[in-house]
């Protein structure tokens, strides 16, 4: 701790005012928009009630950006896009231009600099991702690498709008699941109870806190080698990893036991059907960097089954609602097992309590 200089007291300024940075046409027409259309994949046209237009060109980024990449995006904005941009919640960048004639040169520039233009309408947008090995303290896998590999695979689907409806994919690199609900979600799934590092427990652990964290009461205080530690009832443990963030000795990650699972049918939007959680379809896929080919294969299978079979405007979950789960597992050639039967609190609500059966 240095105490040489007097510390600076922070200005508690909070959330910055967006109007300081907003494109002037957006500012001028704030809350006065009338309608929009998509001119082509990646390009939106919004019309205000005063008859003024703004054109948006959306492009993919790597989210984890070095200052050179950011400055390059600034250069592009200065030269082609009136010096402004914004980001979407999925880390796509959006350049706004008031002049229709700027769309083509801007699009060409972005494409030539390696930023794919797309992600609008019925496309596969950028995968929302978490931190992973790059920066989190509990990750079972990387996030940026999984996303990069999958976006390479789905590049064409990002720059085109050929899906039945939008496809939103998420990833999570531990079972905390920072990524949200997705049409397809690729999440870490632990398969073995934590291995306890007893020396660490004796030194650092707040035992009551971690005992309380376990959702199935599988952790008990214990004396190991004459020192206070913990033990796990491995029959009860559901390998959720909840004990690991508060207690680093609960080593949940193993280079073979940390696996990946794929889930489908989650959605946040209220359009047509209510928001839904995604549901498990495949587990136990190997954590296989740098390209996770087994995950890629499953995602591809599901994505194209959806593309080929869903009707216009059906999101993944809505398509499955129509055709039914038996058909979904049949079309995708994936296995249905006892692990697909929910046994958590409220599980019976997820069962079929009717004679609605599809044959």
């Amino acid at each position: 701790m240095s105490e040489a200089t007097q510390p600076r007291v922070p200005h508690e300024t909070g959330v910055p005012d967006p109007f300081l940075f907003m494109h002037p046409t957006l500012k001028k027409n704030y809350a006065n928009w009338d309608w929009h259309e998509r001119l082509r994949p990646g390009v939106l046209h919004h019309m205000s009630k005063t008859g003024e237009s703004i054109f948006t060109v959306r492009a993919g980024t790597q989210r984890q950006m070095d200052v050179y990449t950011i400055r390059k995006l600034c250069d592009i904005a200065d030269e082609f896009a009136d010096g402004h941009f914004r980001f979407t919640t999925r880390s796509n960048i959006e350049f706004m231009v008031a002049d229709r004639n700027k769309i083509d040169p801007l699009t060409e520039k972005l494409t030539s600099e390696g930023f794919p233009v797309g992600g609008t309408g019925n496309s596969v947008s950028m995968i929302s991702h978490t931190q992973g090995w790059l920066h989190c303290d509990i990750p079972g896998t990387d996030a940026s690498g999984v996303v990069k590999s999958l976006m390479d695979m789905m590049y064409e689907e990002f720059i085109k709008e050929e899906m039945p409806n939008r496809v939103r994919i998420t990833t999570s690199c531990c079972q905390v699941n920072c990524g949200g609900q997705g049409d397809i979600a690729i999440n870490v799934q632990y398969t073995k109870p934590p291995k306890i590092d007893h020396d660490l427990v004796a030194n650092v652990c707040e035992r009551p806190a971690v005992v309380a964290r376990c959702p199935v009461a599988a952790i008990r205080p214990a004396i190991v080698n004459g020192k206070p530690s913990l033990e796990i009832d491995e029959k009860k443990c559901i390998c959720c990893g909840a004990c690991y963030p508060p207690c680093p000795p609960m080593q949940i990650n193993g280079n073979d036991s940390t696996k990946l699972a794929v889930w489908v049918g989650g959605k946040h939007s209220n359009a047509r059907s209510k928001p839904t959680f995604h549901k498990l379809v495949v587990a136990n896929l190997p954590n296989n960097p740098p390209h996770w080919p087994e995950v890629e294969a499953v995602v591809k299978k599901i994505l194209y089954a959806y593309k080929d079979n869903a009707r216009d405007w059906e999101r993944m979950g809505e398509w499955i609602d129509r055709i039914g789960w038996p058909k979904f597992f049949e079309i995708t050639d994936l296995a249905f097992t006892k692990h697909h039967l929910d046994d958590w609190t409220g599980a019976r609500h997820n069962m079929n309590s009717s004679t609605h059966i599809r044959f």
Partner: protein
């Protein structure tokens, strides 16, 4: 630090020539494979930083790449947490110390500053370049736009530089977001700035609430995290319903606006069959009907404002004029009871004038106060609501029950109903008052 002109946009390819008395460049054969393919590569970006001759962060990024490659080899993470903060604040920094620092000493401290972005993620190039310059001087040069909660994540500062970086960012108007058991950074959709579906001023609501309760963010003292998210309409572009403890989702109460000429034009373009299959029969509450002359009939009383028909025909259909938001409380991700969607607590919160926004800020404060006073340690408000039951939660918040809060009334008969009659009387009393108020308003308007 020697200063070299870093304008060289060195494109990816590794330069073998920055050994200036430093540890040698780590080979990254696995990560290198993530440089191919058409999608922008974060690895190429990391290497650009590593290869920035003379920059203070180049050695740090060399070791960072080394550690990341090590993770890819071992399939394990190697960061641990700790305690790092800036003067005056208890949160906002995510400390990261390397567990393999003996191999990768330059990146042994690699902390993240969670910084709140301008609401709606708007930037101009001037401010963006300033952010880059600051992070180039005090940090690693690596920034994420944005984290899932909505922060700009400045990743990679030493413990010593954390304060310097924050001071510089703070001087140009940026403040730390939340980390730890506290009010977290909020997020709002683009909304009114560029979307005709918007039903309230999302960025204003976000700033009014967060900026009023900054103390709860900067000095963590809550049972656990508390997140706000603001979507201008039920399309919910920022995923508020499930990822916010307090979700504000725009909606309207009066009839949607229909431009019948545009409806006709649309039907003419796509044909009656497509119109019926894709719009009419997709309405979840059967509120739409296509007339023989290709105009649209909307049963606004049955419409649940799902947005589908507006999304398909944005030129023809728009939200009404009586605007506001639905407030859902208690959404969260897996830990530890499983995922929860928010529950409707306020079916319609009018958001049109200053007074409405002030009321929203007060209400948000009351909910956080309830959370602070009643949640168990490490319990999200959705779990508290489940533990005590919705009736008790509503009573604590002074909110009357409303059929919009449920999918359907209870199905379990185990309930004590001896004051059912009194409760029913209260309901009719409220209904009478509401009616009286409405006639008053209509009378005043006439």
């Amino acid at each position: 630090m020697p200063k070299s002109n870093g304008s060289a946009n060195g494109n990816g390819a590794s330069s073998s020539n920055n050994n200036k008395g430093k540890a040698k460049q780590h080979a990254t054969p696995i990560l290198d494979k993530l440089e191919g393919g058409p999608w922008p590569s974060f690895v190429t970006g990391l290497k650009r930083l590593r290869d920035s001759q003379g920059k203070q962060y180049a050695p740090m990024m060399n070791d960072l790449l080394g550690q990341l490659e090590h993770s890819y080899e071992e399939k394990l993470g190697f960061w641990k947490g700790g305690v790092v903060s800036v003067y005056g604040y208890g949160g906002g920094i995510i400390p990261r110390f390397s567990q393999v620092a003996e191999k990768f000493p330059e990146s042994k401290e690699f902390h993240t500053l969670r910084v709140m972005p301008p609401a709606g993620f708007h930037y101009d190039t001037k401010i963006m370049r300033q952010l880059c310059d600051i992070w180039e001087e005090h940090g690693s040069g690596l920034i994420a736009f944005h984290g899932q909660t909505g922060n700009i994540m400045f990743q990679g500062a030493t413990t010593e530089n954390t304060q310097k970086a924050f001071d510089a960012l703070n001087e140009i108007g940026f403040d730390l977001g939340g980390a730890g058991p506290c009010l977290r950074t909020g997020m709002s959709c683009v909304g009114a700035a560029r979307c005709e579906m918007s039903n309230f001023d999302e960025q204003r609501a976000l700033r009014d609430i967060i900026n009023e309760y900054l103390d709860e963010m900067h000095r963590p003292a809550m049972p656990y995290k508390f997140k706000f998210k603001f979507s201008g309409c039920p399309n919910d572009c920022v995923n508020a319903v499930q990822r916010a403890d307090f979700a504000v989702i725009g909606t309207w109460r009066d009839d949607m606006k229909v431009n019948q000429d545009e409806v006709k034009a649309y039907v003419e373009k796509v044909g009656r069959k497509y119109m019926i299959d894709s719009v009419i029969t997709n309405c979840p509450t059967r509120a739409l009907s296509l007339n023989d002359d290709n105009t649209l009939e909307v049963d606004n009383g049955s419409c649940v404002r799902c947005m589908h028909c507006l999304n398909v025909m944005p030129k023809a259909l728009s939200p009404g004029d009586d605007k506001g938001a639905t407030i859902l409380i208690g959404g969260k991700r897996s830990l530890k009871v499983g995922d929860l969607m928010g529950t409707v607590i306020v079916p319609f919160f009018k958001l049109q004038n200053d007074e409405d926004y002030e009321k929203l800020v007060v209400f948000a404060g009351e909910v956080m106060e309830f959370f602070s006073d009643n949640a168990l340690e490490h319990e999200r408000i959705g779990e508290t609501m489940d533990r005590i039951g919705l009736p008790a939660f509503l009573e604590a918040m002074g909110i009357d029950p409303d059929p919009n809060m449920v999918k359907h009334p209870r199905t379990s008969s185990y309930v004590r109903t001896d004051d059912f009659t009194e409760e029913a009387e209260k309901y009719f009393e409220r209904k009478k008052h509401k009616k009286a108020k409405e006639t008053e308003v209509t009378a005043a308007a006439e």
